[in-house]
Amino acid sequence: MSSWLIALIGGVLIGLSATGLLLFNGRIAGVSGIVNGLTKRSSGVEWVWRAAFVAGLAAAGGVTVHLLHQATASPARLPVLLLAGILVGFGTSLGGGCTSGHGVCGLGRFSVRSLVAVLTFMASAIVTVLLTHHWFGSVA
């Protein structure tokens, strides 16, 4: 099967997952928000559904990676990797969303706010790759 068709199928499954979480739980499937909520003081029920979503994501996704592909690591060196993690955590908390919340769900709701967020993080990620992989050699 061609790679774009596989990507499209993967995307549809992600879309169906987001639809399921809205249909059953009434919630937006934004991974950064769900993870962030785990470190907040909240009711037990609120914490448990978030933990369940995260556990299902990590376990089923992790198994699928090993079944279908060779598990690939990030090319970033350790300090860059840790800095990147902090920036992703800080930025998604400040901007109220990541690829799933603003991307998959926000765009699906035709939210202009989410569209602006998606265009902004796509642009900054593209510029980051341009700078680190071409202008400054391979810093990452």
């Binding site: 089923a60 993690g85 998604t92 998606v118 071409h134």
Partner: protein, 152 residues
Amino acid sequence: MKAVLAALSCGALFGVGLAIARMTDPTVVIGFLDVFGDFDPTLAFVLIGATMTTAVAFHFVLRRGRPIVATQFQLPATRTIDLPLILGAATFGVGWGLAGYCPGPALVGAGAGIPTALLFLPAMITGGLVHRFVAARFNGMSRSTGISESNS
């Protein structure tokens, strides 16, 4: 209990989708972002497939009065395009471009036992905590959203 099972199943489906689509491979992600270099546009189809699905399905789901195992839909209330939204998204993009991980794929990578994902994840959680710590002290840094738990 039903709500927990529903969330578990949806999380699992999300993870399988990410893995099938190869969003979980940071080198593929960086190749997708490398528009001015060795550009691999395949991952654009992930976003196309996902948003086409939600754009159609959300419409029908939201026509229901309430979700199946919860009392109400909880959707982001804010529509304002403000500085925290722009700064936050821009900051996130830098981290995404540096490591090739956004939050979902980082969790899947950790679940697969990939060392770089296992290191990235605690740093990411720390970043979120740092933002909330800073936001609690400076109003200007508060989260870009109308309700306390929402989008993302």
